[in-house]
């Protein structure tokens, strides 16, 4: 057994492990991995997403359990201090020694901090790790609590710098970008495209300062500004340095490996360093005199190193490395591929520029007009995947190359379809997956969704840029097989929930048996019955009393069944606001029926242990005291949680309780594919945890921010931003539409987060539907929601007032006796059901 030690657990180090465990011969090897960060490898490419969701786990490449499962020894938080090449050992900073047969260096790079006077001051950060980000967040929060218009600058206008600029915006500080070169993204963009990008970024509030050499950082202990020239000063409260990267090659240097003049460990095309037992991959490897700061070449290096070590010595690194890239910077598409800056002697450029729309497209074509050599896209990169493929595969181009970038008359894609690509075309460059592999995965292995194909081939799992193309390939292949992918509810209905929704609505069917007779078969089941009940409720606002035997059993009895077959009772306490008088009334009733009481997670009171026949009696008393049903039993609105807001709180920006009550009363009783919850916070301290809800409002300077599609539960998800700083009326309108759209299109028992996850186009598409009305349906959504709001009825009031409904609340149909098997035991000052054996 041979030992392979990997030093560095970043994206490339992880990829090495992943490729390694996939090889059958890996049993002959033991794999040990060291990382100096406290957590396992995470997706640094999408680091700025951390500011949106603060969720380090979501960025994880694989959880710690993955390493255990694959017999990899992972040591996080343990830096390597020394390599002894003669003994073939390494020593960690914790002074532990390990012996290797092969050593793989994947220590990556660190942020380059230019030697400017004052960079050590408080408030100066680098943008590289999750810990850096956490430090920045904490500092920004401190700033904002003492200053209303704090400013933060980013030093560096390259790719990473602009990502950091987005982070600054997300933190709510005034963002400034300071760049030494006379243009943004000097390595990827030509001057004209750079100007277009600059216009666009300025239009969304970024302040851009070009051609500035920073002399020193001003301030005593804490940064107060940056000085460029004598009278050229920019006041800032925080600085984020993102001025490039520097390979972390110290280890290699110390043990005498060959190092490049400007850093980086020299490797050959087998990824071997000057010591044949030591490999270097990723951003420390100097290959062809170049450091490659992109994910795709790093992944290729990892694959080559794995093959070399296990003995597939034929796999060597490609001679030329494709540096094409496509990204979304602060919501702006930017892409460049092939040779973006071609000199006029080598070919002709076709350029389309429209500054009014912040659009720029340039393609470089060979002198004979037959080949695409490279190009740049800013503002709209939908053509990127196709152009990149044409370039990579040397595919023929139209005699008028402008067709490649000019929109066709009908506004649809201009040239070619993904299916025209040769099978060998690499569609996912991060994972090196070809078109042929994607199509075979559908055709031969029976994968019928992009998700399944991604699982099987790994395509789209890197940067995700190829997702549209892979989606096209999957759909087109399915079509060519004559397959229509269909969601089916159960054996009784050959429809998806959405289709059945439309049928019920269009044909005005209000009865389950009629629906089953006309559009289904057989006698129904526990899947389609409650689903139909939910549709009747969502469309006609029919209460659960009318067709009670198609309801889930909680809905049938308007209460939540508990362990011993007794029920719990939850009256609505909108927004969590409850008067002393109401509390006394509730307490009196709970005491009378000997109920166990507890405060719920949704700021209301749950009363447990009610026997079936007691339910109408309890509710009669509650209704007399002014309470109404809280629908805790339904797939419907539960609660809208609130913090106390500006009426009492010294930090409150607006009245969160009033808003929560208004919105809870608006949506109460509305039934949906799954339960849904809301939250309203009076300021960004977010005490109501609104971002853990299906919809949430947070008061900010100038209005309300709306977040949607979050939840706690088994798979927690933070809600994402739908709109910013809107007034209350607009906020309600947007959420009305979002909820209605969700109710109409989600699959059964799918919560909003899962729905958004599955929705093609994600949150941007939701914005397009509910804000920009791209489907032309908002009037209808508004009408549908208003209908539900206007026709609300308390179904418990209906139940206690109607003798026929009340009649079912008895344990025996032929006796008034109670169920003698119900048994309670004491619990603190209350009671609980006898435990299950």
């Amino acid at each position: 057994m041979k030992t392979v030690i990997v030093v560095g657990n970043g994206m490339v180090g992880y990829k090495f492990c992943e490729k390694f465990v996939a090889k059958e011969t890996n049993k002959d090897f033991k794999l040990i991995v060291f990382g100096d960060e406290p957590r396992p490898a995470y997706d640094r490419v999408h680091l700025s997403e951390f500011f949106e969701n603060k969720d380090a786990k979501a960025l994880e490449m694989a959880p710690a359990e993955w390493y255990i499962k694959n017999n990899i020894e992972l040591y996080t938080n343990e830096r390597i201090a020394d390599i002894n090449r003669q003994e073939k050992t390494i020593t960690t900073a914790k002074n532990r020694d390990f012996t290797y047969d092969y050593l793989v260096l994947a220590t990556g790079s660190a942020a380059f901090v230019p030697p400017i006077k004052g960079v050590e001051k408080e408030g100066v950060f680098v943008y590289r790790t999750i810990e850096d980000l956490e430090g920045m967040l904490a500092y920004a929060a401190k700033l904002k609590s003492t200053k209303s218009n704090a400013k933060a600058a980013v030093l560096g206008g390259g790719l990473l710098g602009l990502e950091a600029g987005k982070a600054v915006m997300d933190m709510g500080l005034e963002p400034h970008i300071v760049e030494f070169a006379p243009k943004l993204m000097p390595r990827q963009l030509d001057s004209r495209s750079s100007q277009v990008l600059q216009l666009k970024l300025e239009s969304i509030g970024l302040h851009i300062h070009l051609g500035k050499a920073t002399n020193q950082i001003l301030g005593d202990k804490v940064i107060t500004g940056m000085e460029f020239g004598e009278d050229d000063v920019l006041d800032v409260d925080m600085l984020i340095i993102s001025a490039g990267i520097r390979p972390r090659d110290e280890l290699g240097k110390a043990c005498g490996l060959e190092i490049g003049v400007r850093g980086g460990i020299v490797v050959n095309n087998k990824m071997q360093t000057s010591d044949e037992n030591i490999y270097a991959i990723g951003e420390i490897a100097l290959y062809n005199q170049m450091i490659y700061g992109l994910v795709a070449p790093g992944y290729e290096m990892a694959t080559v190193a794995v093959d070399q070590i296990i003995g597939n010595t034929n796999n060597i690194m490609s001679k030329s490395i494709d540096m094409s890239t496509k990204l979304k910077l602060i919501g702006v598409d930017v892409a460049s591929f092939g040779d973006p800056f071609m000199p006029a002697t080598k070919g002709h450029s076709v350029i389309f520029e429209n500054k009014t729309q912040h659009l720029y497209k340039r393609i470089n074509v060979s002198l004979d007009g037959k080949k695409l050599l490279g190009g740049i896209l800013v503002g709209d990169a939908t053509d990127y995947s196709m152009l990149h493929q044409i370039y990579l595969n040397g595919m023929p181009i139209p005699s008028d190359p402008s067709q490649l970038i000019l929109p066709a008359g009908d506004g649809t894609a201009s040239f070619g379809s993904a299916m025209d690509l040769p099978d060998t075309a690499v569609v996912c460059s991060c994972e090196a997956v070809t078109k042929g592999q994607v199509c075979c995965s559908v055709k031969d292995d029976g994968n019928e969704t992009v998700k399944d194909v991604a699982k099987a081939t790994k395509a789209t799992t890197g940067c995700g840029g190829c997702k549209p193309m892979v989606t096209d390939l999957v759909n087109e292949t399915l079509k060519s097989l004559g397959k229509v992918v269909k969601e089916r509810i159960c054996e009784h209905f050959d429809y998806s929930r959405q289709e059945l929704y439309d049928i019920v609505k269009m044909k005005n069917i209000k009865d389950y048996d009629e629906l089953l007779d006309t559009h289904g078969k057989g006698n129904g089941c526990e899947v389609c019955k409650p689903l139909a009940a939910s549709l009747f409720a969502s469309i006609f606002n029919e209460t659960a009393n009318k067709q009670d035997t198609i309801q889930d059993s909680n809905d049938r009895y308007l209460a939540n069944i508990q362990r011993n077959g007794t029920y719990s009772v939850v009256p609505r306490v909108a927004g969590g606001e409850i008067s002393p008088k109401q509390m006394i009334a509730m307490g009196r009733i709970a005491q009378k029926y000997d109920l166990y009481t507890k405060i719920t997670g949704g700021q209301r009171i749950d009363m447990f242990g009610a026997k079936l026949h007691e339910l109408p009696l309890i509710w009669e008393e509650l209704i007399a005291e002014g309470f109404e049903t809280g629908q805790a039993y339904g797939k419907s609105l539960r609660t809208v949680k609130s913090c106390v807001g500006s009426t009492w709180c010294r930090y409150g920006m607006d009245e969160s309780v009033s808003f929560a009550i208004e919105i809870e009363n608006r949506y109460k009783g509305i039934r949906s594919p799954h339960k849904f919850k809301g939250g309203v916070s009076g300021c960004i301290r977010e005490c109501a945890e609104a971002r853990g809800k299906d919809f949430g409002f947070i008061a900010v300077e100038g209005g309300w921010n709306i977040y949607i599609c979050g939840n706690g539960g088994a798979t927690p998800k933070h809600a994402v931003l739908l709109a910013e700083k809107v007034d209350k009326k607009t906020a309600i309108t947007y959420v009305d539409r979002f909820l209605m759209y969700y109710i109409q299109t989600a699959q059964p028992l799918m919560r909003t987060a899962a729905w958004l996850d599955k929705l093609e186009g994600g949150i941007d598409y939701v914005k397009d539907v509910v804000i920009n009305d791209c489907l032309g349906i908002v009037d209808q959504l508004d009408k549908d929601m208003q209908h539900l709001v206007d026709t609300y009825k308390c179904e418990w009031k209906e139940a206690v007032e109607t003798p026929e409904i009340r009649a079912k609340y008895t344990h025996f149909v032929n006796s008034t006796e109670e169920d003698e098997n119900i048994e309670f035991v004491a619990l603190r000052d209350q009671k609980m059901p006898a435990p299950w054996v």
């Binding site: 054996e491 009784h492 048996d513 089953l516 057989g522 006698n523 129904g524 089941c525 526990e526 389609c528 019955k529 409650p530 009670d548 035997t549 198609i550 309801q551 889930d552 059993s553 909680n554 049938r556 009895y557 069944i561 362990r563 011993n564 077959g565 079912k808 344990h811 025996f812 149909v813 032929n814 006796s815 006796e817 169920d819 098997n821 119900i822 048994e823 299950w836 054996v837």
Partner: protein, 126 residues
């Protein structure tokens, strides 16, 4: 105490019936739903499967957690087999044979039902 209740219930075939217990009027049972009948110390779930035009009876006790709840379960059909889903954990049982259709729980006891003069009768063998 609770597990011993299970012994109260044994599957009864039509030809074993010695007693027809007159339970209640048919109108007391909801369409396509169930209700619970008390017979001596037994609890029997009776289902009015209107869509099939049939009636079924079985023990009210779910063998999973020994709770008296099956009569409140939803009824339906699984590839032609009539079934009831327990309201606690959605375990489903055949209303004909009593077998657990979506798991490995013990079968429940089922009983014959007949309707005469607007009344529901349940057949027992004791």
């Amino acid at each position: 105490m609770i597990t011993s209740i299970l012994k109260e219930y044994s599957p009864t075939a039509l030809n074993q019936v010695t007693t027809w217990f007159k339970a209640a009027k048919t109108s007391k049972f909801p369409k396509n739903g169930g209700a619970c009948v008390k017979y001596k110390n037994k609890q029997i779930a009776v289902f009015n499967f209107t869509r099939e035009g049939k009636w079924y009876a079985c023990q009210n006790l779910c063998p999973h957690k020994m709770e008296m709840v099956l009569s409140r379960g939803m009824i339906g059909e699984d590839m032609g087999t009539p079934k009831v889903a327990c309201p606690l954990h959605k375990n489903t049982f055949s209303l004909e044979t009593g077998e657990n259709l979506n798991g490995t729980l013990d079968a429940i006891a089922t009983y014959p039902v007949k309707i005469e003069d607007g009344f529901v009768y349940i057949g027992f063998s004791e």
